[in-house]
């Protein structure tokens, strides 16, 4: 069973790196709130399955940064769907 990691801290918060270090290859990462700023950070390599909450991306004018980061944007409905397929959910 994979783990769904929910990260809301900005990239300069110690939790950000701690979270990335805990994400395994088959895990899913969702960036919310200030964590979406990680999309714009040149020194952040995001895991393979990374998503960012669209409303937080739009609020912070990061639409252009999404494509370059390799992440995809999702809405809250899709976030709910991601919680349907695993009970292992960890907030950072």
């Amino acid at each position: 069973m994979y783990t769904l990691h929910l990260l809301n801290k900005s990239p300069d918060h110690p939790r950000f790196e701690a979270c990335l270090a805990a994400v395994s290859a088959d895990d899913v990462l969702v960036l919310t709130e200030n964590a979406v700023l990680g999309l714009a950070c040149v020194n952040e390599t995001l895991p393979l399955k990374s998503y960012a909450l669209e409303s937080d991306v739009k609020a912070r004018a990061l639409q252009d940064a999404v494509a370059a980061s390799g992440a995809k944007t999702i809405d809250s409905a899709t976030l709910v769907a991601l919680t349907e397929t695993t009970h292992r959910i960890m907030s950072w």
Binding site: T3, P14, R15, A18, A21, A22, V23, S24, D27, H87, R88, M90, S91, W92
Partner: protein
């Protein structure tokens, strides 16, 4: 169902660690398996010799010393954090054990909670 509660903030400067301990003790009181992991600045919760009386707070050390009696199974200390804060095993509470924090550690638990 087993739960890991992670404390990564330093003691006394804010209340999140104390409220994390309350969660652990509550689970234990209801006979739910629970362990604590101290990583990052949170490792300082395990430092032996805390005297917080002058800042008007209760001793986290005394709380944690009672954790095994109340049924908290493990006090896990991130060895990287211990080395970052120059803490050796003999400077930590006797009940603490050093672990390497890897994704596999988190996967041993059904719920991993950090406030």
């Amino acid at each position: 169902m087993n739960v890991l509660i992670v404390i990564d903030r330093a003691p006394y400067g804010d209340w999140s660690g104390r409220e994390s301990l309350d969660m652990a003790f509550s689970l234990a009181a209801f006979d739910k398996p629970v362990a604590l992991l101290f990583r990052g600045a949170g490792i300082n919760w395990l430092r032996h010799g805390q005297l917080p009386e002058d800042i008007g707070q209760k001793s986290g050390e005394r709380n944690l010393a009672a954790a095994p009696i109340f049924g908290v199974s493990d006090l896990l200390a991130d060895q990287q954090a211990a080395s970052d804060y120059r803490l050796t095993l003999d400077q930590l509470l006797p009940a603490a054990s050093l672990v390497e924090v890897r994704p596999e550690l988190y996967r041993q638990y059904d719920h991993v909670i950090s406030l």
